[in-house]
């Protein structure tokens, strides 16, 4: 399969995602410039981490207007798997492709450390290869990862099982003591109603090899490979390129 990794001005984990997808997971990957208008026939799209446009206005606020985003939207509307990592997640929120918004970390400061997160649901293309409630050790590196959604919307998210990752203890317990940024309900990642668009603050692409401190992130990218194979075997023609 083929990953498209979108490069926004100010993206800084774009090559990390490209490297993990191509060199670690061993699939095809292509970096796609934000001014492009097509996704080069990719089967899955990654919006990478970084500081698009410096995050000078609000994280992701300006990037959502990039020409490529129209293609990403329609790709997602056709059911194509889209993963937003950190800044990519923030862009998906600003673009309205995922519900809610990010505010400053409750302790204000930028946080950079390895944290455990719990996989809440495995029925998304980016958790398909995970074990239920599997705990992944992934690095976070953000100043605005404090997820917010209005009460009704939050309730809806939970009801629809759209919370995909939650900050947790190494043993998988959830609670404020393991919440690094004040996110409501300890949310680290969510998906859309159709479950094909996933966003998370932690960086799976930066934890795909043991020497880097954790290889737990690999399964997130490996999942989409599996998901697409399952999809292909269930449906002859790949709908994402339809």
């Amino acid at each position: 399969m083929k990953f498209a990794v979108v490069v926004f001005p100010g993206s800084n984990s774009d090559y990390d995602a490209f490297y993990a997808a191509s060199r670690v997971v061993g699939e095809q990957a292509e970096l796609v410039w934000h001014k492009d208008t097509d996704l080069k026939g990719a089967d899955a799209v990654i919006l990478p981490g970084g500081f698009a446009h410096g995050d000078y206005l609000r994280t992701g606020a300006i990037a959502r207007f990039s020409p490529i985003m129209a293609a990403v939207k329609s790709f997602a509307d056709r059911g194509g798997p889209v993963l937003g990592i950190c800044n990519g997640f923030q862009i998906l929120l600003e673009a309205g492709m995922l519900p809610g918004a990010m505010v400053r970390n409750d302790r204000i400061k930028f946080v950079s450390q390895l944290v455990p997160i719990r996989v809440e649901h495995t029925d998304t293309p980016f958790t398909a290869a995970c074990a239920p409630k599997q705990v992944l050790k992934l690095p976070i590196a953000h100043g605005e990862g404090n997820y917010y959604a209005p009460p009704d919307q939050l309730a809806e998210l939970e009801a629809n099982r759209q919370v995909i990752f939650r900050y947790a203890s190494a043993a998988g317990e959830v609670g404020t003591e393991w919440n690094p940024n004040g996110s409501l309900n300890g949310i680290a990642g969510i998906c859309n109603r159709q479950r094909n668009v996933v966003g998370l603050m932690p960086h799976p692409e930066r934890a795909a090899e043991l020497p880097l401190g954790s290889a737990d992130g690999r399964v997130v990218l490996a999942s989409v490979v599996k998901a697409l194979q399952d999809l292909k075997s269930s449906r002859p023609q790949d709908l994402t390129n339809a």
């Binding site: 606020a61 505010v103 917010y148």
Partner: protein
Amino acid sequence: MKARVYVTLKPSVFDPQGRVVADALVTLGYQDVKDVRQGKFFEVELADADPAAAKERVTEMADKLLANPVIESYRVEVIQ
């Protein structure tokens, strides 16, 4: 022609920065500080001359880009 857009977090949204500032003020000895909310504003300079038109355009900018309706509300004010 100048306009200002004031953007604040909605009351329902927790404002960590305001909170930290409030705490700092109290520790500095300003016991009477009850609460602090932090906001931002943009001073937009336009070529356009007509106040009414300017207000409309700037409001549009705020809707589209300067504020995030999920968490923020804004106020537009034309200066001169």
